[in-house]
Symmetry: C2
Subunit: 463 residues, 2 copies
Amino acid sequence: MNLEKVLQKAIRIVKPSRADERKLRKIVEKALELTKEEASKVDGIVDVTLEGSAAKNTWIKGREEADIFVHFDPRIEREELEETVVRIGSEVVRRLGGKPMLMYADHPYVEGVIDGITIDIVACYRVEPPNWTSATDRTPYHTKYVLENLRPGQENEVRLLKGFMLGCGVYGAEIKVKGFSGYLTELLTITYGTFLRVLENASKWKPPIVLDPKGYYESKEEILELFKDSPLIVIDPVDKSRNVAAAVSKTKLFEFVLAAKLFLKKPSIKFFIQKAEKAKISDIRKLAKNRALLYTYFKLREEKPRDVIWGELKRSEEGIRRALERAGFQVYRSGSWTDEKKTCLMIFELDRLKLPKYALHRGPPIHLRNAEEFVEKWSKEAVGPWVDGDRLYVLRKREETDASKVLRAEIEKGNVAISKGLLNYIRRARISGALDSLLKLGKRNPDLLRFIWSFLKARPIFL
Amino acid sequence: MNLEKVLQKAIRIVKPSRADERKLRKIVEKALELTKEEASKVDGIVDVTLEGSAAKNTWIKGREEADIFVHFDPRIEREELEETVVRIGSEVVRRLGGKPMLMYADHPYVEGVIDGITIDIVACYRVEPPNWTSATDRTPYHTKYVLENLRPGQENEVRLLKGFMLGCGVYGAEIKVKGFSGYLTELLTITYGTFLRVLENASKWKPPIVLDPKGYYESKEEILELFKDSPLIVIDPVDKSRNVAAAVSKTKLFEFVLAAKLFLKKPSIKFFIQKAEKAKISDIRKLAKNRALLYTYFKLREEKPRDVIWGELKRSEEGIRRALERAGFQVYRSGSWTDEKKTCLMIFELDRLKLPKYALHRGPPIHLRNAEEFVEKWSKEAVGPWVDGDRLYVLRKREETDASKVLRAEIEKGNVAISKGLLNYIRRARISGALDSLLKLGKRNPDLLRFIWSFLKARPIFL
């Protein structure tokens, strides 16, 4: 299929119909009206506005959402602001006929799904840049900047970019994804002009990539000095001290670059489609053959906010990964999964599930005083010591060699950097290298099974 | 046992008796006389002298040897010198009642064992320093320097040092050992005064160690600049451009340092005794339990000079070691053995004898052009590719996983840096990880069995 045809098809996927638009407008207007009504009963609220993709007309089909912002006077205490917005938000969602859910980002907000449309009611302080008091204060300025700088017609370019990123699994700034935020797609479109130009430029990106839409800085070097270690730096037009792409992980950045390269080489509608194939047990068995998988599975006693649980999982996954490597395993890959309620799984693909009985243990250089102690200590309980170069070595006998037992022992000894909020769960978690027991868990939960399957396939979804 | 007592005992081990000395003198005189007689028949020979430990009176009991040097006029061609010394040497050994053996160091020489005493007949050019024409030309000057600088009584200090090094397995500059030469022990004794002072100083050595007995250089830095990468540098008093310790490997150097430390801490006669315990099959089996040994065994079609075969073995051992590591094994240790006739063995202790079926294979950074080729190439035949950071990775399926098969395949592909002189032997060699077949070889050869045993013990002999 040629590029033009693909883009025609893609626009049909991402662009809302007139009917979709009318529906969204109607609900948004109602929500705004109700929020203003509730807000008027409270002192200290100075405005109620629509923000986000609905305000900018950049929302995509199937991801309808509206962010209603309640602006507070900066003299209002943080605690009061939080209580107030939760109270107002809950009331609004209830009056719209929805079920209010308390969510947490930088501060609490209220979410409700009305007729398939997600309504978020969020608080911010009405401040002038750069006197930010809370993380959401910039949002109204983001909306303003995009509305002023996105030319008519470019909304659909943003939509194509969002749809492409969604189909490639790199869309969303939340910890689960660590990908591109909506605002970032808008800035990229403003910078490069069209969806295709964004891809063309991205396909040539070489880290570190630096964009400064408003030209706040004199040179790239100045920016790199300020935002060290970021592979992608996009200076926020409304706040020169902020990198809009700070949440984008290196991996997601380069998945996007790779997707851009492959799409330009061979355009296809598949880049816009989120596959939801059904995972088959027999396929999983075939994929898992001769591979070494270790997993840990546990259930939380109580639910946690989505970003909290994902953050804890990712950090713990990294800690376990490092512990396994220190113990002598090679960790090829790892991944985490949660139903975002209580059930959690971390999975590690290792070189093997059993360590050799003997491990090389490097002693001190012989010119150091403790060389003699090393000889004395290890002469009895190890093979060696011998001299190689200027150092002593022994072969240390391992007590445990099974991956699951090694990991459990390390956790017990407190040698694994596990997120505090998960420590007690993981200490009692199932830790196993048995594929059958993993599949048994998967049989009870299709989403988990799909995760296992895609983990074993080990490819970005666009491949 | 206290230090004094140990030294008293040690001196009895290393110092030749009056009878030993008389015997040596008698044979040496006869050998010198015969060599002079033979030399007088040839033009171009200007002198015949006694060199080495017999000339310096620093030889030790059980290692009786005499180096007879035939000095040639520098105008004599190298080829003629070699032919002449071989002819004269052979004749002398025959007339002494021995069997002449042709040996090779830098140039050929003749060796004979007469009544348990080794006689070497060696050629050199009579030149003035620093106009060296061949490697042996310095030797007469070494003898002269030691005789002029070793004070009466210090001969026995040298003998203690040689005996200690012999007992600790670090004596001998030949490739098999890569340890300390006799001349080096003499220079160390001249520098530090006594055997004990040598040990006291050596126990505090920290690399790089620099000694310049004649003070040729202004500073240590100047010497380090000239002799880079040498852990021990001893400037030759007769040739400022030569490091007397060039042949000492880092490992042997630090085995000596360790032995010195341990001896001073707890003096014992065992440091002077070369153990020759008998290796027991049952002990070897016990030691080898749960360990992964790979060996290669082969026989040469014809004998080679000792230093040649050891050099080839060591280089090939290193090449195989690196090949095994590239293939995914961890090589804990390795060693070579030969009967110095035809039979050779190389042995490698690995982490395990079997590799995992899948290996991590790192692809290019995604910003490079070949990233797409990598995706195309590996998508079919590997697990993945996936993105981690800015790179692509796959899990590559290994064709061979057994250590012996992996090594044989790598050798066949020409991927192993094996010494040219051994390549055809090793290509047809037995390569195996089976302990039983190794022990069968050992049963036929007690020296080989002892080597296997000491390899498995993995300790310097003084421990």
